[in-house]
Symmetry: C2
Subunit: 264 residues, 2 copies
Amino acid sequence: MAAQRGQRNGVGGDTPPAPTAAEITTPIPRVAEVPAARERARAIPEAAVARLAVYLRVLSAMQEQGAVTVSSEELSAAAGVNSAKLRKDLSYIGSYGTRGVGYEVTVLIEEIERILGLTRKHSVAVVGIGNLGHALANYGGFPGRGFPVSALFDVDPDLVGVPVGGIAVHHIDDIPAVCAEREVSIGVIATPPPAAQAVCDRLVEAGVQCILNFAPVVLQVPDHVEVRKVDLAVELQVLSFHVARRADDAAAMEGRQVNGMVVS
Amino acid sequence: MAAQRGQRNGVGGDTPPAPTAAEITTPIPRVAEVPAARERARAIPEAAVARLAVYLRVLSAMQEQGAVTVSSEELSAAAGVNSAKLRKDLSYIGSYGTRGVGYEVTVLIEEIERILGLTRKHSVAVVGIGNLGHALANYGGFPGRGFPVSALFDVDPDLVGVPVGGIAVHHIDDIPAVCAEREVSIGVIATPPPAAQAVCDRLVEAGVQCILNFAPVVLQVPDHVEVRKVDLAVELQVLSFHVARRADDAAAMEGRQVNGMVVS
DNA sequence: GCCTGTGAACGGCTTCACAGCG
DNA sequence: CGCTGTGAAGCCGTTCACAGGC
């Protein structure tokens, strides 16, 4: 898995599910009266949401190859998980399979897209048009499209006005105005670390509710804003840890004269 | 990820060094008396390893500002986690704090670097010199350096020989030779999806043990190879899910006439 | 008194295994 | 009979709370 969770500003503990004043004194466990859609959506584990996105991509590929139905076994193999987990994940969004047969590809695609909110387009703004920003801007139409990059920003006056990936770069001072006008719902921060927090503040000010942060900085945001962080240095360091562990293992085995059998 | 087969081997918890050889009733060949370093390294939760990398960056920044000691409270706040988690994470690598005082910055940095295997440089090879590959190649010296990008590869003959970020691009057919020569330990895949598996196979063939995969593909690798995946489309879709959930919540509240209190 | 280090409680994700239905 | 859907068990990481040193 990639992308560490992280963010969560909370000073002490994290906010519990969402206990309203009413819940406190309820001595009897009872079924909540909350709207079904909301409840169900909230009940999906974050980890499962990420996997649903993967299933969606696999399903799209299968659909293009003309597949009409898939079994949990096939789909899970293609997505790199085990079938029990896949069925559990799908059960979070409802029961769309046919026992003894499998799932209808088109139905699953529709349902997953609905749950992930992909039926609605989400405009993306990329801030920081350096190497990474360039790459992201040109990525145009991410796989499993639905995320049009509709605004680019940078501090550098020389970049302002220059078209990158077909879109003109604006100055970061224009973030509020341009984001509002183009109804940007997701902001991507690809600036140097020192600039990240200021950019983040501007995005929040502009009403952006979700941020994908590539800068190695812990962003401070209001509770209603969701942040996901992609940290390349961390990824490499985690890999480094595994290299080191492996080396230790090897050294240990060699030095210990273990019998021929290798455990792993 | 992969790693099916439970391979239990008397690795209890983090109990004191007391290998109870008596309890084993299985005649299965096993490694007795495992080295402490290996044991400890294996016991660190993956999630904790990722956070250690974050602490390291924060500590480096603090060191540059002249800090000599930090308390778990300060460090955890700067890293965006709670202090209990931070102390637990640090306890996995040993006891380097002073009760009543805190941790010595330089000591912590050294120990974390040691555990993450950063005392040894890890050569990185980037395969696929498109937009993203370019960005990665120029990233040169990732924050918290120690990961020199020492080889670049692409299929495109026109790119071969062209210097990117100071390094000449090689053809992917040369992966085995070049990687061996430059002792590459980490491979980064930034190719289009269809090429990813083939490139991965070549890297494995070249002896690379860890791979960072940016292609939206589930790679098949031998058990001894570690893969981490960064999937931009999945990140965006997870954010999309949250946007949708928020919208549902708002709609639900409005339609339900919830009492004045706002939950989150 | 203050802050670290950690056993134990807790909660959430994963795995199991089988009931349920086509 | 096959495959989905799911309660229940198991496992693992997080949180709590306090013992242990300084």
